[in-house]
């Protein structure tokens, strides 16, 4: 019997070993901690330098993601500056949590990257290209990269996917699957709209993928195994 995925509550041992007590810090990380913990001008200078880095990273990150978000122009830049500001506050509030498992800057930059993701998800709904619960099943072949000339060949398996979604998923699972997979709503945008964590949405999709695959295998559309050893 296979182990259950950690997404479903399984072992996280490979993660927890990363949370060991702090090791000796590298010189640069120790310097950041010392300067950010100092008084007066030294601390202000360090905060200014860190904030400038966060702004630069946030601007680069929103530009990198610009093709995959409906957020554009000044609003995109605003997202970057807001992300840098919020990340800065979080970093300063959580300095005591830094345990030296990575370089300080990598730990700090993670905050701003995650802020960009979260804010782009929320801003998606200011000008959404597709509404929640649109249920655009006719677009599923395109989303799956199926050649239009071969739609007829794929009709059987896609009909089975829809049957499983309609008949075997719970209403909560069905709503999330349709939003993410059928309508192509970004996961972070759906999480923001439904007030759920990213992991909660992912878990629903993970379980739905397994359920649909099992049905497709049982009905002869796909062959086992469903998981390849890497």
């Amino acid at each position: 019997m296979r182990a259950e995925p950690a997404a479903a509550g399984g072992s996280l041992s490979d993660v927890e070993c990363a949370r060991a007590p702090a090791k000796d810090l590298d010189e640069e990380s120790a310097g950041w901690l010392r300067r950010l913990g100092a008084d007066g001008g030294e601390r202000l200078a360090a905060e200014r330098e860190l904030h400038a880095r966060l702004v630069r990273i946030a601007l680069a990150e929103v530009r990198r993601r610009s093709a995959r978000t409906p957020v554009t122009g000044q609003e995109l830049e605003d997202v970057a500056y807001q992300s840098a500001a919020d990340a800065m506050l979080a970093i300063l509030a959580k300095l005591g949590d830094f345990r030296g498992e990575s370089r300080f800057t990598t730990w700090a930059y993670r905050f701003v990257i995650l802020e960009v993701s979260s804010k782009l998800g929320r801003h998606y709904w200011r000008n959404p290209p597709v509404a929640l619960d649109a249920g655009q099943w006719e677009r599923l072949p395109d989303r799956l990269g199926i050649d239009p000339e071969r739609h007829a060949e794929s009709a059987g398996i896609l009909a089975e996917v829809r049957r499983v979604v309609d008949e075997e998923l719970t209403s909560h699972q069905r709503r999330i699957f349709v939003a993410i997979v059928v309508d192509g709503i970004p996961l972070d945008a759906l999480a923001a709209e439904l007030g759920l964590r990213r992991n909660a949405i992912y878990k629903v999709i993970f379980d739905a993928r397994r359920k649909i695959r099992r049905a497709l295998v049982a009905n002869g559309y796909l062959e086992e195994p469903g998981w390849e050893q890497r």
Binding site: T106, Y109, R110, I113, V116, L187, W227, R230
Partner: protein, 71 residues
């Protein structure tokens, strides 16, 4: 790979997948290993499985790796 390959790949789940919360909790550790050319995937196979399957977490990984590379 036939036309349904993408669907088949999408439906395939990896039992090592640790999920978003755990992957993001150590993203900085994973990225530092990857940036240093060390075997992040070998050390954290469950995180690797997740980053390959989860678009948003994969984006965050790519973004943080780029940020670190740019200094």
């Amino acid at each position: 790979m036939n036309d349904l390959g993408r669907l088949e790949r999408f439906l395939r789940t990896d039992p090592r997948d640790v999920g978003c919360d755990e992957a993001m909790a150590i993203l900085h550790v994973y990225v530092d290993l990857a940036a240093a050319g060390e075997d992040a995937a070998g050390r954290y196979p469950g995180v690797t499985a997740h980053l390959l399957a989860c678009g948003p977490c994969g984006e965050d990984f790519a973004g943080l790796l780029l940020a670190v590379a740019r200094g």
